[in-house]
């Protein structure tokens, strides 16, 4: 079999350049830690990786909504806890001043305190977070309670709902109507009480006690609703955390290179190149020219 010089030369050239190209490829993988950087590295894998990246972004969005919702609901719950405290105080005042032992002087002072507490309650109902009034259900740009105590009931009356998972929604709002005006207007009750206190009429004052009790119950029931919503959100949070980890793991399996494998491949490629170079030195070796 005739072996021409051109063939020998091309043989040597090819084996060295092929080894070198392989080495470059393995270096790239080892350095970046990724076995998939462009679609042709693994077409089916990159298609799945694309879907997983999209799902991860979706999970982040749910996570953001959950945090946002949770902080809003916590704020609402705090405001209602404070409102309950105020109503407890109101009840104390009403009770203390409904007996015969209280003086007109005391009753007047109490009336002033009731007015103050009423304003505090209105402020609490108009609690803001960011730009939104959190007790305003849908239309969160208008304060739900006017300064005179009228609750502006927005006709939409819907609860703010956000996505907290795939095909899963959570309610993240609280209602001024529900807490302060659902059957009994709490601010009116307080206003009536102040009037009765100033009129120094113990029977009238006593008559308010039932209403105050009802008002307290009303606020409490809204607070319970908020509590239920918060729990649902928290459960969803655990879910999104698990989902996020799952997607990350799946994607990493496709995209990332196994470190041990990458470095051993690199080492092997280096050895191959070394071998190719050494062999090529010998291929051109002895010929008749040496002995002529």
């Amino acid at each position: 079999m005739r072996v021409s010089q051109l063939h020998l030369q091309s043989l040597v050239q090819r084996s060295v350049s092929d080894s070198r190209a392989n080495l470059v490829e393995k270096q790239k993988i080892a350095a970046s830690g990724q076995r998939l950087t462009v679609p042709s590295d693994d077409p089916d894998g990159s298609s799945r990786a694309r879907l997983l990246t999209g799902l991860l972004a979706e999970t982040e969005a749910y996570s953001d909504n959950i945090s946002f919702g949770e902080s809003r609901l916590n704020r609402a719950e705090d405001a209602m806890a404070e409102s309950e405290n105020i109503l407890v105080r109101i009840k104390e005042l009403a009770y203390a001043n409904s007996t015969g032992t209280a003086s007109a002087e005391q009753r007047n002072l109490a009336a002033t305190e009731v007015d103050q507490l009423r304003d505090n309650l209105i402020d609490l109902a108009n609690t803001r977070q960011g730009q939104e009034y959190i007790f305003a259900n849908m239309d969160t740009s208008t304060p739900p309670v006017a300064s005179d105590g009228t609750v502006t009931w927005d006709a939409s009356s819907g609860v703010r709902v956000v996505e907290i998972g795939p095909a899963k929604t959570g309610e993240i709002s609280a209602s001024a109507q529900g807490a302060f005006n659902d059957g009994i207007n709490v601010f009116d009750v307080l206003e009536d009480l102040a009037v009765d206190l100033r009129s120094n009429d113990p029977d009238a004052i006593r008559a308010n006690l039932d209403d105050i009790e009802t008002a307290f119950g009303q606020v409490l029931s809204e607070r319970v609703k908020v509590g239920v919503r918060t729990n649902r959100i928290r459960a969803a949070e655990i879910n999104t955390d698990q989902t996020r980890n799952l997607y990350k793991t799946l994607r990493s399996n496709i995209v990332d290179a196994d470190a041990a494998e990458a470095f051993s491949d690199l080492s092997l490629a280096q050895t191959s190149l070394q071998a190719a170079i050494t062999v090529s030195a010998r291929v051109f070796g002895p010929s008749l020219l040496d002995s002529m």
Binding site: R2, V3, L6, S46, T53, N65, G69, G158, L288
Partner: protein, 463 residues
């Protein structure tokens, strides 16, 4: 019949001349050891009938036409894949997970929508959604523009290739003329040159060749059409046929002077590679980008128009409108609609006028479009699935091209080795020959020496 001393002298002389010729041939082979495409010269010794002796002639080794034909075939295939490589590589980056690509922008857009639904009256979040919508439009536009640019670049390469083909064919034809005028022994070098040109030609288009009695080579291509016939050549040219100026067709001027469109016949070689890249590969990728842009635009616009913005307006579009049933060109023109551009209040978050301020039902419907598997891929996939399919498509196109190249390269290497084996120069062989012919030359000179001595002997007899 007896030979005279003169005859013997001539015999010796013929040996010297013959072996001188042989050494010259061997030297020629050794000098050309690095010349690519060189065909070995062999020495043929023929005994002279009258009076003994030998004559030598240098013959160019008969190339194996079967191997040559296969070499042309594989060279065409390799060039076919090689031509498309760099363009495909560029396109591939448009589908990697990089910022600014369609996938990345699509994810961000949906994320912004969901974030807005948590606080739909907040202007910051509205602005963010518009900004992400704009980025999505720009990603489509940039991707489509890039594909169009690559297609145009491919078309531009045609000029250089066609010019080269025309150059090669006219060079081959003029070599044909020269070769037919020379006697057999003098043709070798020109034949070598012609082989090199034909090899380069085979990289551009698929060819088949055969030799005629007079030594000229005929080259056919594209289903039997003649490129070179003895001294005549036919020219290739380009023509703009379609409405797109950079999708030119390749024409061939036949013997009757008429031009024929042969673009569809060019399926291999560099020119075939460009045609495939330009007309099938890039075009189908671009079509899918347009289709996805169209599907996204029409679905989102329809849903957005059904919703109400902060001012209670309805019927507003999110992206620039596209005419129904005409997806081509949607991607490059994709942008925010004038209804919402610069006006964050105009995002239709609510689903009825009563909840215009604070409602987010329409936003849920909009983000729900991402789960609808009838909206993309000819009513068979979600947007995300369609995009993922496009990614794997591009990946597969490149994988296929790479393997075509690798296989052709491997085959070509093998075939070259076979060719070299038959018609190449082996240093060892030539050196042995050189020693052999040198010895024979010495032997021939001995004959003359002896004849000389014999003459001396006779002359001495005479006086």
């Amino acid at each position: 019949m007896s030979s005279s001393l003169l005859d013997i002298l001539n015999t010796g002389r013929s040996s010297l001349l013959a072996h001188q010729q042989a050494v010259s041939t061997t030297s020629s082979n050794i000098s050309n050891i690095s010349t690519p495409g060189y065909t070995r010269r062999d020495v043929e010794f023929t005994p002279i009938a009258a009076g003994g002796g030998v004559s030598a002639s240098t013959i160019r080794n008969q190339t194996n036409t079967f191997i040559t034909a296969q070499i042309h075939d594989q060279a065409a295939r390799k060039a076919f894949a090689e031509t498309q490589e760099s363009s495909l590589s560029t396109i591939e980056n448009l589908y990697a997970e990089n910022e600014g690509n369609i996938g990345y922008s699509l994810d961000n857009f949906f994320q912004a929508m969901r974030t807005l639904s948590a606080a739909p009256t907040e202007l910051d979040r509205r602005e963010a959604m518009l900004s992400k919508a704009e980025e999505l439009a720009q990603a489509f536009s940039a991707t489509s523009q890039r594909l169009t640019d690559e297609r145009r670049a491919a078309d531009t390469q045609l000029d250089g290739m066609i010019d080269r083909v025309n150059e090669l064919t006219s060079d081959i034809a003029s070599l044909n003329v020269q070769i037919t005028r020379l006697p057999e022994e003098a043709r070798a070098a020109l034949k070598d040159q012609r082989d090199v040109l034909v090899r380069e030609l085979s990289e551009h288009v698929d060819i088949s060749t055969f030799y005629s009695e007079d030594g000229s080579q005929t080259v056919l291509f594209a289903g039997g059409r003649p490129l070179v016939q003895k001294d005549a050549t036919t020219q290739l040219s380009t023509r703009q046929e379609s409405t797109y100026p950079y999708l030119r067709q390749i024409h061939f001027t036949n013997s009757a002077g008429a031009t024929v469109d042969i673009t569809s016949q060019l399926t291999t070689g560099k020119i075939g590679g460009i045609v495939q890249l330009r007309d099938s590969v890039l075009t189908s990728i671009l079509d899918r980008v347009d289709a996805l842009a169209y599907d996204i635009t029409t679905s989102f616009n329809a849903q957005h128009q059904a919703g109400f913005d902060l001012n209670g307006n309805t019927g507003l579009s999110l992206f620039t409108d596209v005419p129904a049933g005409a997806p081509a060109g949607t991607a490059v023109a994709m942008a925010l609609h004038a209804d919402v551009d610069g006006n964050a209040r105009a995002i239709a978050a609510a689903s009825n006028a009563a909840t215009a301020i604070g409602g987010n039902d329409n936003l849920h419907a909009l983000s729900g479009l991402g789960d609808d598997s009838t909206l993309a891929g000819s009513n068979s996939r979600t947007f995300a699935q369609e995009l993922a399919d496009m990614v794997s498509d591009v990946g597969k196109a490149i994988e296929t091209n790479d393997s075509t190249f690798d296989y052709a390269d491997f085959s070509l290497n093998n075939l070259d080795r076979l060719r070299e084996q038959e018609s190449g120069v082996s240093l060892d062989e030539e050196l042995v020959n050189m020693m052999r012919f040198q010895r024979a030359y010495q032997a021939g000179s001995k004959i003359i020496q002896n004849v000389g001595q014999m003459y001396d002997t006779i002359l001495t007899l005479v006086g």
